[in-house]
C-alpha cells in the first residue's frame, strides 16, 4: 500500500514548533493556576463561576495541541496510510463541541440567575488577620486570569501563522480576546460593590455569550476541516494563495493541454490531485513525475500531489 511520506517540519520551522510547544506548556500551567485562583475566590458570584468555566475551557486547546503534536508526526503505516494528521482535527472538534455546549449552558444559567433576581452575597475573607472584602480578591484573581493570557495569545499568534497551525491560531486568538471577558467580569464585580445586584449576572451573561461565539467559530472551522474544505489561510479568511501557485505550475507545463485539480487539508499538510489532458503521450510518466515533484517542492505544506492523465475533462471542469 502506498503510504504518505513521513511528515517533518522543515528545519527553519523547527525552532518555531519547539517554541509553540513550550508556550503551550506554559499556557497549561498558567491556566491551571488561574483555575485555582478563581476557584478560591469564587464565592457565590455568577460572574466568577462563568470566568472559572471560561478558564477551564481555555485549558482544552493547549492540551489538545500537546496531545496532537505527539501523534501527528508518527510515520504513516499499513493501518494508517494517510498518517495521523487528522488527529489534530478530531482534537479540535472535541474542544469546539465542549466550548459551544458549555457556553450555551452558561447563557441559560446566567439568564436564570438574572430573571430570579439573585443578589450575589459577597462577604469578607481574613488574610493574615486582616478582614478584606472578597470582591477585591476577585478582581485581583480576574487580573491574573486576564493579563498573562493576553500576552500568551500575542506570542502564540505569529507562531501559529508560521506553522500553519489552525488550532494554535484559534487558541491564540481566544487568549488575545480574553481581555474583553476579563474586563466585563471585573466590571461585574465592581458593579456588585456599587450596589448593582444585576451587574453580576449581566457580566456573566456577556461572558457566556462570548464563549458561545468562540464555540461556534471553532465548531464551524472544525466541521469545515473534516469536510475537506479547500485550503484556507490560517485565519480562515481567504483561500490559500498556494492554490494559485499550483495552478501556475500546471498552466506553465508545455506537455499539458488542459487540467483541473483539487486540494484538501489534512491537519497541517495539503494533499492534492491533478487531472491533466496531455498534449501527446511521449515521456508521459516522466513528465508526470517531474511536474508532481515541482508542485511538492513549492511549499513544505504540500505533502503529496497525485497527477492522473485523462483523455478529456468533464464539461464543467476547468481550471
Amino acid at each position: 500500500m502506498k503510504k504518505l511520506a513521513r511528515f517533518e517540519f522543515p528545519p527553519e520551522l523547527v525552532p518555531d514548533f519547539k517554541k509553540a510547544k513550550r508556550l503551550e506548556w506554559i499556557s497549561i500551567a498558567y491556566f491551571i493556576s488561574s483555575v485555582l485562583v478563581i476557584f478560591l475566590t469564587m464565592g457565590n458570584s455568577q460572574t466568577m463561576k462563568t470566568a472559572w468555566y471560561d478558564d477551564v475551557l481555555s485549558l482544552t486547546p493547549p492540551i489538545a495541541f500537546q496531545v496532537a503534536s505527539r501523534v501527528f508526526m508518527k510515520t504513516p503505516n499499513k493501518d494508517f496510510p494517510y498518517g495521523y494528521h487528522r488527529v489534530v482535527n478530531i482534537a479540535y472538534l472535541c474542544s469546539a463541541v465542549a466550548l459551544f455546549a458549555l457556553g450555551a449552558f452558561l447563557v441559560i444559567d446566567s439568564t436564570i440567575s438574572l430573571v430570579k433576581t439573585e443578589h450575589p452575597t459577597i462577604g469578607i475573607v481574613v488574610i493574615g488577620g486582616h478582614p478584606i472584602w472578597l470582591g477585591y480578591l476577585m478582581i485581583a484573581a480576574l487580573m491574573w486570569s486576564t493579563i498573562p493570557s493576553v500576552i500568551l495569545g500575542r506570542k502564540k499568534l505569529p507562531l501559529a501563522q508560521h506553522l500553519h497551525e489552525k488550532n494554535l491560531y484559534t487558541d491564540a486568538d481566544m487568549n488575545k480576546a480574553d481581555w474583553m471577558s476579563g474586563f466585563a467580569a471585573m466590571l461585574g464585580i465592581v458593579g456588585i460593590g456599587l450596589g448593582w445586584w444585576w451587574a453580576d449576572s449581566a457580566a456573566a451573561l456577556l461572558i457566556s455569550v462570548d464563549i458561545v461565539h468562540d464555540g461556534f467559530t471553532n465548531l464551524k472551522q472544525a466541521v469545515f476541516d473534516l469536510m475537506d474544505q479547500t485550503p484556507k489561510t490560517v485565519s480562515g479568511q481567504q483561500s490559500d494563495p498556494l492554490l494559485d501557485q499550483v495552478r501556475d505550475v500546471l498552466a506553465s507545463q508545455s506537455w499539458i493541454k488542459d487540467f483541473s485539480f483539487r486540494m484538501r487539508e489534512n491537519g497541517h499538510i495539503y494533499l492534492g490531485e491533478g487531472f491533466v489532458v496531455p498534449v501527446q503521450e511521449e515521456n508521459l510518466t516522466q513528465h508526470i513525475a517531474n511536474t508532481a515533484q515541482t508542485i511538492e517542492q513549492l511549499n513544505w505544506r504540500i505533502q503529496e500531489f497525485v497527477i492522473t492523465p485523462v483523455p478529456e475533462l468533464p464539461d464543467d471542469e476547468s481550471a
Partner: protein
C-alpha cells in the same frame, strides 16, 4: 494595531485606577437595598428559632450565644433590636421578603436552606466539626461585611464560650 494597543491599555489603566480608588470610598461595597443605612441608628429586626445553646427561648427576649452576639452587634450600629420568633421555614420566607434583617437559629454552613434566597455569613465558630453561620438578606453586602467583621473580632471569645 497601535489603536488596538492604545484602547486596550487605556481600558486596563482606567480599570486599575478605578480598582485602586474604590477602597478610598468608605461605603464600598454598597447594599442594593440599603439595609445597613436603615439599621444604623434605627432598628435591627432579628428572626430567631430556638436551638440551644445557640438560641435559647427567654422572656421577653431570647438568650444564648447568638442573641448575645446580635445585641452586641446592634450596639455597634446604635440600633435597637426587634425580635421575631418563628420556625426556620417561616423565617427564611421572611428573610426573602426582607421582613427581617437577620436570622439566627444555630445555623451551620451545611444548612438545607443554603440554596434559599439568603446571604449566609462566613463561619464565626467551628463546633463539633460544624461551621456556624448566620443568615442575612441576600446580597446586602455592606451589612453582611459589617456583621462578618464584627463576628471575626469576637471569634476568640465565641470559641472560648463554646468549648466543650
Amino acid at each position: 494595531m497601535a489603536d488596538y494597543l492604545i484602547s486596550k491599555w487605556s481600558a486596563s489603566s482606567w480599570l486599575l485606577a478605578g480598582a485602586l480608588l474604590l477602597p478610598a470610598c468608605s461605603d464600598f461595597p454598597k447594599d442594593p437595598e440599603k439595609t445597613l443605612k436603615r439599621v444604623e441608628n434605627g432598628t435591627l429586626v432579628v428572626g430567631y428559632s430556638e436551638n440551644p445553646p445557640w438560641v435559647v427561648q427567654g422572656n421577653p427576649e431570647p438568650t444564648g450565644i447568638e442573641p448575645a452576639l446580635v445585641k452586641a452587634f446592634a450596639q455597634t450600629l446604635h440600633a435597637r433590636v426587634r425580635w421575631r420568633k418563628g420556625t426556620e421555614q417561616t423565617l427564611f420566607e421572611d428573610l426573602e421578603k426582607r421582613k427581617i434583617d437577620l436570622l439566627i437559629a444555630g445555623l451551620t454552613d451545611e444548612s438545607p436552606w443554603k440554596n434559599e434566597k439568603a446571604g449566609f455569613t462566613r463561619s464565626f465558630v467551628e463546633h463539633r466539626k460544624k461551621k456556624h453561620v448566620m443568615a442575612a438578606i441576600q446580597g446586602e453586602n455592606a451589612f453582611v461585611m459589617r456583621l462578618e467583621e464584627f463576628l471575626y473580632q469576637r471569634e476568640a471569645a465565641i470559641a472560648q464560650r463554646t468549648q466543650p
